[in-house]
Amino acid sequence: MDTPSYFPVPPGVGMEDNFLSLDDILLSQERLPVRTECVFPRLGFLEKSADSQDIAEGSKMELPLWLCKGLHEKKRKVLSVELPKIYKEGWRTVFTADPNVVDLHKMGPYYYGLGSQMLHFDSPENPDIAKTLLQTFIGRFRRTMDSSQNAYNEDTSALVGRLDCLEKVLFRSGQNGLNGFQDWEKGQAAQLTASSLVLNYRKRKLVDVQS
């Protein structure tokens, strides 16, 4: 009864991403440290630190994910992508030790999404990254579930502030279930309320219509 007739396209978690999803588009804006393997002639203006006309081989830059994915090819070495530090060994041990402590929003709001996209770049640490992502998710699941199912009618900004975007979506669906149940129990489910669209319509006065 409350389902909207318009569903926003959800982000595709996993190695594929949805072309039409806004979350995925924002995710692909994240920058990755990259080392160029060949010369980029006459693109020197992209790199502000050097003054040359082309980007020399071996220079380190930060490029957004969408560009890196497009330029990544196994046969012709154009770029080599390094892992951002949260996917490296040091941070991985932190995540396996206690996933609940980490503030995933600060670490890049798209931890799971970006991690899954990194697996495209065929780094030797791929299986470890994939495993860490899964273990972090499992470890944090309990806290997300408890906080979403118990916080009714409260300010949830403190709870949500440390969650990654994926977990925020889960939090919201948990809240939906909880709010639906509580509304029903209070008897508000049977009350007819004016739809928000109708409330925004201004009543046209008959005079205006006639003139």
Partner: protein, 186 residues
């Protein structure tokens, strides 16, 4: 599914009433409802019982499980067991709300019953969350939970299914190449 839809399904349950009018047997699509004689008990579905009560044409008798001692026993039993015990009725939450809102004068100790049912609900929901957490933690493929009622399932359904979807996709990362080339259709 909305909680209102679950409540609608719950209204099919039968409950005993004592009408104060008389009526011959009525033949409805869902079944026949027996002749009504004043002062004699009749079995009717909850939707009809509530309607008659609101028109002051009957008195509702509380179902057998809606008794303070029985509910206290069930509550203690529920707290002791790790698994789910059989619920008082497959729609205990909805029936409690409906009957106690509309017919609390016919049900003795209505407030205590409300508190007891709430306690049973809280215990069961806590067990449900615990088992959902262990389900995810061990990455099982199946779980079997007996004796769950529809309302409890409904409150956790959206969240659990979304998290299982996410977990499935993160797990598919572990097997690269299996999912390449899948395109979503819009």
């Amino acid at each position: 599914m909305d909680p209102s839809e679950v409540e609608f399904l719950a209204e099919k349950e039968f409950v005993k009433i004592i009408p104060n009018f008389s009526l011959d047997k009525i033949y409805l699509i869902g079944g026949d409802l027996g002749p009504f004689n004043p002062g004699l008990t009749a079995d009717v579905p909850v939707w009809l019982a509530l309607n008659l009560k609101q028109r002051q044409k009957c008195r509702i008798l509380p179902p057998e499980w809606m008794d303070v001692e029985k509910l206290e026993e069930m509550r203690e039993f529920e707290r002791k067991e790790d698994a789910f015990t059989p619920a008082p009725s497959p729609y205990y939450m909805e029936l409690t709300k409906l009957l106690l809102n509309h017919a609390s004068d016919n049900i003795p100790k209505a407030d205590e019953i409300r508190t007891l049912v709430k306690d049973i609900w809280d215990t069961r929901v806590a067990k449900l969350r615990l088992s959902a957490d262990s389900f995810i933690r061990q990455q099982e493929a199946h779980a079997q939970l007996d004796n769950l009622t529809l309302m409890e399932i409904n409150t956790i359904r959206e969240f659990l299914l979304d998290s299982l979807n996410c977990m499935y996709k993160l797990r598919s990362n572990l097997q690269p190449g299996a999912t390449k080339g899948q395109f979503a259709d819009y």
